[in-house]
Amino acid sequence: METQAAPREYRWRMPGNWWTRNRHYFNYMLREFSSVPMALWMLWLLVEIQRAGGAASQYQPHGSPAFIAFSVIVLLFSLYHSVTFLSLAGTILHFKVFDRPVPSRLIVLAMFGMWLVASVVVAFVLVWFAR
């Protein structure tokens, strides 16, 4: 009796442009990419902090139109990060109160509430102490 070699399978290859084929995949990559502009802006902030250590007469904060445009782009990315991350936090967090699971919508609401409070506090400190 002859034995036949198993016919070969066709191996899967992930296309390099997989993330362009579907809106969800593209949005996901955008979300992941948002770390880059966010990191760059925070590095700018670090430079701004470092500049405070220099002479008062030579202090010049960033303010060029290019910088403002950069900040607008970063703001869009960071808003996208915040909305997606805080919404998804509702999926991850799960706990029970009085033996009943807390609905995820409530958790997401709480997260967005915290975001609002944190933003107001940060903005307040940044403006109040500029008087």
């Binding site: 399978e9 066709y10 191996r11 084929r21 969800h24 799960h94």
Partner: protein, 246 residues
């Protein structure tokens, strides 16, 4: 009265003759609004080309056998209605991210291996004696894991997951969701036994929460949720000294 037809483009791959897969077109009569893609495939096999190979069984969305890519989206072909695609052609391909055995049939050994690895059965340190009766569970205890028990092992989630597509070692959505189903079951005492597989480097940590697995799941299992919650629970286990989920 002109008969309506719909064009099906199906992947053909004969491992003994073909270098790579190709698409073959067939015209299928579209005579009933309730027709699904699986009906079209069955028509092709019965009347046009008996060599077309594909998996199917219950044709009612419960066995999980007929998963394929329909116009680039992982679907159960028994639940993909032709009326949603007509008059455009429907491209039917084997599930993404798996090796192709033939035509629309993929090799699911990797998934079967992963399923077995998470030990999808009740693990007890000690079985309760028969005389003690059944394990009793309240509805609330069943609610804890009910959603994750709905999985029909159709592997649409694996076809949708780009992490799995890029890295075949990744444990994947369904296996993790089923592991969680048993870990959350009040009758089960096997979390510590499953933990090494679930929390290994290629386990839950490779997931970057794309979320497409939950989008395509035909049973609402939400494996993305299962994975993220497992990440959190596992982390808390190690961070909290007394954090035990058993």
């Amino acid at each position: 009265m002109a008969d309506k037809t719909l064009s099906i483009k199906a992947t053909r791959f004969d491992p003994q003759h073909d270098e790579k897969p190709r698409l073959q077109s067939y015209e299928v009569p579209f005579y009933d609004e309730s027709m699904v893609v699986l009906d079209a495939l069955n028509y092709i096999k019965s009347h046009v080309d008996g060599s077309l190979s594909y998996r199917w069984s219950c044709r009612m969305g419960i066995c999980g056998s007929c998963g394929m890519m329909v116009n680039g989206v992982p679907k159960l072909t028994c639940s993909a209605f032709l009326r949603d695609y007509w008059p455009r052609p429907v491209v039917v391909e084997p599930l993404n991210n798996f090796p192709i055995i033939r035509d629309l049939v993929i090799d699911m050994d990797d998934f079967m291996h992963k399923l077995k690895a998470i030990k999808p059965w009740i693990i007890r340190k000690q079985d309760i004696p028969l005389g003690a009766g059944e394990h009793r569970q309240t509805n609330e205890q069943i609610d804890d894991f009910r959603q994750f028990s709905q999985c029909i092992n159709c592997m649409l989630c694996y076809a949708a997951c780009p992490v799995y597509g890029l890295n075949g070692e990744f444990l994947g959505p369904a296996a993790t969701a089923l592991g969680r189903r048993y870990n959350l079951d009040s009758r089960d005492e096997g979390l510590k036994i499953r933990l090494p597989v679930i929390a290994e480097a290629e386990g839950i940590w490779e997931c970057s929460f794309v979320g497409e697995c939950s989008v395509v799941c035909p049973k609402g299992v939400d494996p993305a949720k299962a994975i993220q919650q497992t990440k959190l629970d596992t982390t808390l286990r190690f961070v909290l000294p007394y954090g035990s989920r058993e």
